[in-house]
Subunit: 225 residues, 2 copies
């Protein structure tokens, strides 16, 4: 159960709701880019409404084939609302840089974002749930799933896993230097990009770590963003 | 117009909608912490519904006193929907680390998040709009506002600025090492935290930068996260 880039599947098509009306040069609908953006991230923001009030919950996610997954406590307000089959908006955004133009108006940010609309489904089958959780663990720390104390029945029951099929998807990307008004290029103002990236720090041992346990090699390979 | 920590104002009180029911040890309602989390970030996620469909739009934001602000093109679908006075959910989340426990179940992430509910207001007064945009620029790059080519009438008109008063606010923070089941501490599994932080890279000059313009000192001071 590895997350391949199903580039055999067709690219996404804009719907009435995901068509990007402004700055459409930033719109991207190819499946490969969408998957790359999703696979680079760890935290999504799930939007849903309860009694007409929208909520946006940040949570960890992962992708398998043409689905994204997220999970949490079976008691979570978000998961209990969403598992009922309501409309959701799943958004992932990576911040890549400050774009400092010669005017405030053309200053911007570089980013990669994906938004998917739809109705999430609960993964009810126990084996499928476990398989999905395994992908989540293995994705950032390959090899760790086999090292962990196995999941027990009670924990599986206490964990809700939801998935959303990637069908109605919008993707926007901005890269590169500022685009200033032509007459502004002659101004004596610095312009350019200040890059922003996600940095993975040196792993910190649990204060209660058993003596003699070394840091596994996969900790040095964690990549996010 | 600097963003002070109005700690003279009372702390936030949980409402029926923002009371944190699970893992309530992670709930924080003191105003100082909420402001610190907001002031550390650049990108929020704004949730709103159009025809019952929730949307979550990532966008830049900033704080002044007890309000958060965000802005964009007056033609933006999000801003046009939200400026009508609909309910929104404003969420900011900073990812601080992977919490690798000895079981999948207790593995987690360290984070700081703020969620604010309410109805956003459009900043209509031109002077107030300019003042708000100045704070946004000065916040990450102090001194830059005065260097920029001034905003013109057409640009002010083309920019919508919204603000949300911080009233109904929930804040959750997780820090520190994993909390494993007592019997799992004896297992031969590495456990601990892999820190995640936002890194600001070396500024990249615009390829069309006018000769002789040095990188301003404030570029080295940019901090996010």
């Amino acid at each position: 159960m590895t997350p391949p880039n199903d580039t055999t599947l067709p690219d996404f098509q804009p719907s009435e709701r995901t068509r990007i009306k402004r700055l459409h040069q930033r719109a991207v609908f190819d499946r490969k880019t969408v998957y790359e953006i999703l696979d680079a991230g760890l935290m999504c923001h799930v939007g849903y409404a309860i009694d007409g009030q929208p909520y946006v919950t940040p949570t960890a996610y992962w992708r398998v084939d043409d689905r994204v997954y997220w999970h949490g406590s079976s008691a979570s307000k978000m998961l209990r609302a969403v598992e009922k089959g309501i409309d959701v908006c799943f958004t992932v955004a990576h911040l890549d840089g400050l774009v400092l133009a010669r005017s405030g108006f053309h200053s911007s940010i570089n980013y990669r974002s994906v938004m998917a609309l739809g109705v999430a489904e609960k993964v009810s089958d126990e084996a499928q749930k476990l398989a999905a959780l395994e992908v989540f663990t293995e994705r950032l720390t390959p090899g760790r799933w086999a090292e962990l104390r196995p999941v027990n029945k009670q924990e599986i029951k206490a964990t809700t896993v939801l998935s959303l099929k990637l069908e109605e998807v919008a993707c926007k990307v901005r890269t590169g230097p500022p685009g200033d008004d032509e007459e502004d290029y002659s101004l004596d103002v610095w312009a350019g990009v200040v890059p922003i990236a996600t940095m993975i720090g040196a792993p910190e041992d649990d204060p209660r770590l058993k003596a003699g346990i070394a840091q596994p090699a996969y900790l040095r390979e964690v990549k996010i963003g």
